[in-house]
């Protein structure tokens, strides 16, 4: 049984927590011991969100140690840089091409780094860096809220689990009228990631 540590990060309102909840349920359904914990203090007010999610035979700490994250799944570019140090050397960084500018950057007090700069930082830890065209996929499926499902699709390509387990979880969570676009978002997330491998 393969234990994994996933760090999902982003900004309040992006659906990070829903995605990590789903991951935890999928892990439990697959027979793992599971723990997950979110830091969301005032996330709904635009703060950073970070969710630690672990699958394994027996999990003690819900918090993942720095340098031990197998998969850093970032829903926003700058947040990937913020949490990069948690990634294990050779781990996988999956980053949505989404930019949410914080007020501190808008006033010009802090520069908002570009993707190339962020990528350089990530590649100093691992050569497995995937920038997911989440904005385009959101438009294509006509549902920008499906960002978290795109990212789950991307992550699923690295995990040896039956795709039906994932689709079943989406079916349980998503309201019927968004089901079709959600399935599409999931599949397009897989497609985009596979094309980069």
């Amino acid at each position: 049984m393969k234990a994994i540590n996933v760090l999902m990060v982003g900004v309040g309102g992006q659906g990070v927590i829903l995605a990590s909840d789903a991951m935890a349920e999928i892990g439990m359904a697959a027979g793992y011991d599971v723990k997950k914990t979110d830091s969301l203090g005032m996330a709904q007010r635009g703060g950073s969100v970070v969710s630690n999610m672990r699958w394994g035979k027996k999990i003690f700490s819900p918090m993942i140690k720095k340098g031990e994250v197998d998969f850093l799944v970032s829903f926003e570019e700058v947040e990937a840089a913020r949490w990069a140090a948690y990634l294990r050397p050779g781990g996988v960084a999956i980053v949505a091409d989404v930019m949410v500018m914080p007020i501190s950057a808008m006033s010009g007090a802090f520069p908002y780094p570009g993707w190339e700069e962020i990528k350089t930082a990530l590649t100093s830890i691992t050569d497995q860096v995937y920038l997911i065209p989440a904005m385009r996929i959101g438009q294509e499926v006509g549902n920008p809220k499906a960002l978290n499902i795109v990212m789950m699709g991307a992550l699923s390509t690295f995990l040896d689990l039956d795709s039906e387990i994932w689709l079943e979880d989406i079916r349980k969570k998503v309201p019927p009228k968004f089901l079709d676009s959600s399935f599409q978002a999931f599949l397009k997330g897989i497609e985009a990631t596979k094309s980069m491998k």
Binding site: V11, G12, D21, A24, E25, M28, D33, V34, K35, K36, T37, D38, S39, L40, G41, M42, A43, Q44, R45, G46, G47, S48, I59, F60, S61, P62, M63, K65, K66, G67, V78, E79, A81, R82, A84, A85, L87, R88, P89, M101, P102, I103, S104, A105, M106, S107, G108, A109, F110, P111, Y112, P113, E117, I118, T120, A121, L122, S124, I125
Partner: protein, 601 residues
């Protein structure tokens, strides 16, 4: 049945399966979800209380009435409820009562950090602490057994990482079918705490703790794990999980009964190992208990007393203390050199608090003086803005930067009265929300009338308890189940207290708010301004978004002073993100050029 449950969900389900019939709380992170999980459960009365003190008093009444009761609050809530908590510890109850305190180490969403384990020792009541959701579920049943058997409230202490961590829980019990019928057992000796009765109860409290000391020795959820006996770790709560993660081979004594502690068990563990250390978050509670037994012990000499722990912190401390070997190779993790902009929480686009706070900054703070963390003298015309606990506290951050104080629920009004009566030369206003006013602001306002204060109180009425996730309160009449009942009328309440100068303005009308505030400040009597506008998140409001008319924009960037997340600079030009903009129009009122206009469809 296996379920994935957060600590809070497990506490709720555990209480339900323990036969709880009455649950009350005031919302507060990280405790809020417990009552919300219980609300839809059948056969149980749940309610949002007006504050934690009232919640505990109502809970006391329910338990006096023979119904198993749960009272839930965050750590600072127990400060508010301390008076009835101590009283309850003295009287005991007819049925079981458990008080849940969810502490917030690291202050994720709190004005202060405190270790509420002190309250157990202080009030002489037993305390239980789970190390994960499974234990939270199981311990709740034990909590009610102890409460009933020892005629005592039980303090059930959780922390952010226990409450908000989801784990796999084996749900083994069900709700008991036959619960005792409500009924009050009349006993003035037990429930009327005049000195003659209280002295008798005082003796029984000491007898109770003595009996509990014996009881916890055989408590089945305390657990000794003997591995390598060179190091023995005593631990509780989330600290136990981190310790298990970091020390792979050590011996452990996991304690869930953290007051009183099982002395014989601790002694027998200490006798089995060469060295004893304690790993616990916040204060050295267990460490001091162990030291009192005369056992050499270390803990806070290398584990921080401040903030949350995590495996890295525990490991680093253990290496410093020499109880773990230093890593043979230095970590190869490269810290990236990217400069990352901080992402602080901020008021939402369209938030009704923004307009009034923008005006307070303009009127109350000298624009020539740069904001700085260093204390400074105020200029004559500046206004002191005492504030309170709620979303609007985020107005302390730039660019709004409109607040001077934030201490505890309701403090804004008392602080203003104190500043005024102390004789400071500046005008003073206090700012608080509708839910906070109901919680603890009313008595402060009564005092203002009584003291013949000249102060002005601004109640930012967004008709919900927004910060904790939109709970109803007395001023909305909305119950935890969403039903609507009678509401306390804010204007009439304020008038009834004796305020003659009562004003209601739209939170989005900057001119009206400013002129009302100016008039109130000149008035030689206490005044109240109710700035009303619903929470846009709660009501899911989306009016017509605004846009920047680029031809008229002179790039003065005054609109950035609003601090709205919908306004951004893109390609050197101020723009409004129509998908984020709610259409409140505050920025349009701020723009000196009239260059912000409603978006044409």
């Amino acid at each position: 049945m296996r379920k994935l449950l957060s600590g809070n969900e497990a506490i709720a389900l555990g209480a339900y399966h323990a036969g709880v019939g009455f649950a009350t709380a005031y919302p507060g992170t990280p405790s809020t979800e417990i009552l919300q999980t219980m609300a839809p459960m059948e056969g149980i009365y749940t309610e949002w209380s007006v504050n934690e003190k009232v919640a505990l008093e109502v809970g006391m009444g329910a338990a006096y009435g023979g119904v198993r009761t749960l009272v839930i609050m965050k750590h600072v809530g127990l400060n508010v409820a301390a008076d009835p908590f101590f009283a309850l510890a003295t009287t005991g109850t007819n049925a079981g009562i458990v008080v849940v305190s969810c502490d917030d180490p690291g202050e994720h969403s709190s004005q202060g950090e405190q270790d509420n384990r002190h309250f157990a020792k202080f009030a002489k009541v037993p305390m239980l602490e789970p190390t994960d959701s499974q234990e939270a579920y199981e311990l709740m049943d034990w909590a009610y057994k102890i409460s009933k058997e020892f005629d005592t409230p039980v303090l059930f202490r959780s922390t952010t990482r226990i409450s908000h961590c989801k784990c796999v829980v084996d749900v083994t019990r069900d709700r008991p079918a036959d619960l005792p019928k409500p009924g009050y057992l009349r006993s003035s000796a037990k429930y009327v705490m005049v000195p003659s009765n209280a002295r008798v109860r005082r003796i029984s409290m000491e007898e109770r703790i003595a009996r509990l000391r014996d009881y916890v020795e055989k408590f089945p959820l305390n657990k000794m794990i003997i591995n390598d006996t060179r190091l023995g770790i005593i631990s509780s709560g989330i600290g136990y999980q981190y310790a298990r993660e970091v020390f792979k081979n050590a011996s452990f004594l996991k304690l869930v009964t953290t007051y009183p502690v099982p002395e014989k068990l601790i002694r027998s563990f200490a006798a089995k190992v060469d060295k004893v250390i304690v790993i616990e978050e916040l204060d050295p509670h267990l460490e001091e208990e162990v030291r009192l037994l005369g056992i050499p012990v270390e803990g806070k000499s290398f584990i921080p007393i401040i903030g949350e722990l995590n495996p890295e912190i525990v490991e680093a401390g253990a290496i410093r203390a020499g109880v773990l070997p230093a890593p043979t190779q230095t970590s190869s993790t490269v810290i990236p050199t990217v400069k990352i902009p901080p992402r602080r929480p901020q008021l939402c686009a369209g938030c009704p608090h923004v307009g009034p706070e923008f005006v307070l900054r303009k009127m109350g703070f000298d624009s020539k003086i740069k904001p700085s963390p260093t204390p400074r003298e105020m200029t004559k015309k500046e206004i002191v803005v005492t504030s309170d606990i709620g979303c609007y506290t985020l107005g302390v951050y730039e660019p709004l930067g409109a607040l001077d104080t934030c201490a505890c629920m309701g403090a804004s009004i008392g602080q203003a009265t104190g500043l005024e009566k102390a004789g400071i030369p500046n005008k003073i206003v206090s700012v608080l929300g509708d839910s906070t006013f109901m919680h603890s602001g009313i008595t402060g306002l009564v005092d203002m009338v009584y003291k013949q204060s000249n102060g002005t109180v601004i109640i930012l009425d967004n008709s919900t308890t927004a910060m904790t996730g939109h709970q109803g309160h007395a001023g909305t009449g909305i119950s935890i189940n969403g039903t609507r009942g009678p509401k306390v009328n804010l204007e009439k309440l304020v008038e009834g207290i004796g305020i003659k100068d009562v004003n209601v303005v739209s939170a989005y009308d900057l001119k009206a708010f400013e002129s009302t505030l100016k008039r109130c400040l000149e008035n030689n009597e206490p005044s109240v301004i109710i700035a009303r506008g619903p929470c846009v998140l709660n009501e899911k409001i989306k009016w017509t978004p605004f846009e920047v008319d680029i031809d008229n924009c002179v790039d003065c960037r005054d609109c950035l002073d609003v601090g709205c997340p919908a306004i951004c600079i893109w390609n050197e030009q101020v723009q409004i993100d129509a998908s984020v903009c709610v259409g409140c129009g505050v920025c349009a009122q701020v723009c000196p050029q009239g260059a912000i206009v409603e978006k044409k469809s």
